[in-house]
Symmetry: C2
Subunit: 162 residues, 2 copies
């Protein structure tokens, strides 16, 4: 048993996967897990920055003034508020991000990228991009890259905006 199978333990008959779907699903799942894992490990090993931290630094660096509201930052990093709050606390300890009360909303906080944080990001970016090239783009033909984008954007329309 797994995602295919012949026994249904429910009222509605489950729409089991056929052999082709099974292969597609497993290939997607394993490759996604391995790729995410590999990129994270290499980044940590070579720069000491986990991918989750990296994403936060990137999001901040992409704004005009290197700062974002906590909730906006959480959305851009596909992170829960709580997770982001913990993560920013840890980044503060490293001196890479600083918190600042939001001028136009007393409830809000701004996460601000520090000089040190920007420097850490600059050091990590080449490592990260090299990983993405080596393990993704270098392995795929232009047609496959186009398909990756197409499938990804299709799924995002379903799963996203949120």
């Amino acid at each position: 048993m797994s995602t295919h199978g012949t026994t249904a333990a429910q009222g509605e008959q489950p729409r089991w996967l056929d052999a082709e779907e099974q292969r597609a699903w497993r290939a997607w799942l394993y490759s996604a897990q391995l790729l995410l894992d590999r990129l994270d490990r290499e980044l940590v090993r070579e720069t000491g920055i986990p991918h989750t931290y990296y994403e936060i630094l990137v999001a901040l660096s992409e704004t005009e003034d290197h700062m974002l509201r906590m909730s906006e930052l959480a959305d851009r990093c596909l992170s829960s508020r709580s997770r982001l709050s913990h993560a920013v606390s840890r980044l503060e300890e490293r001196g890479w991000v600083r918190r600042q009360v939001c001028p136009d909303d007393g409830r809000g906080q701004l996460a601000v990228l520090t000089e040190e944080g920007f420097a850490a990001l600059e050091a990590a970016a080449p490592v990260h991009v090299e990983g993405v090239r080596a393990h993704l783009f270098d392995q795929l033909s232009p047609e496959q890259v186009a398909a990756v984008r197409d499938v990804g954007e299709t799924l995002l329309r379903h799963l996203g905006p949120r």
Copy 2:
């Protein structure tokens, strides 16, 4: 700055991503994160079984006698030995898996799926497959599904077997 950029802080010039690659990478990353997250959450919510546990139960159920050596099980689940050891301990507490010394190698342990574990899997499988359908296959054309498989298997040849 991010995975594109114009400043290189290294000897070797980083091979930055162009705009198209950037889009492909982000689409892939976000869709992968959202899909994995969504499937796990739905499975936990409706069955109380996290996806990592589910994968272990599936791997065991797919063998002839519903048992596997710990290290073989770890490989099939793309899990570290340590992680699997912890996970199997938790599954033992739920009564879904049982450990048993390996007859032909005194160092080895066999993880054995129990009746209760199999029943839990049978209950969870329809929920899981429905999630995979709803969030993956129902969203994609047959051509896109073929591309997913093709890309996944290509990446696996690079990332996998280990």
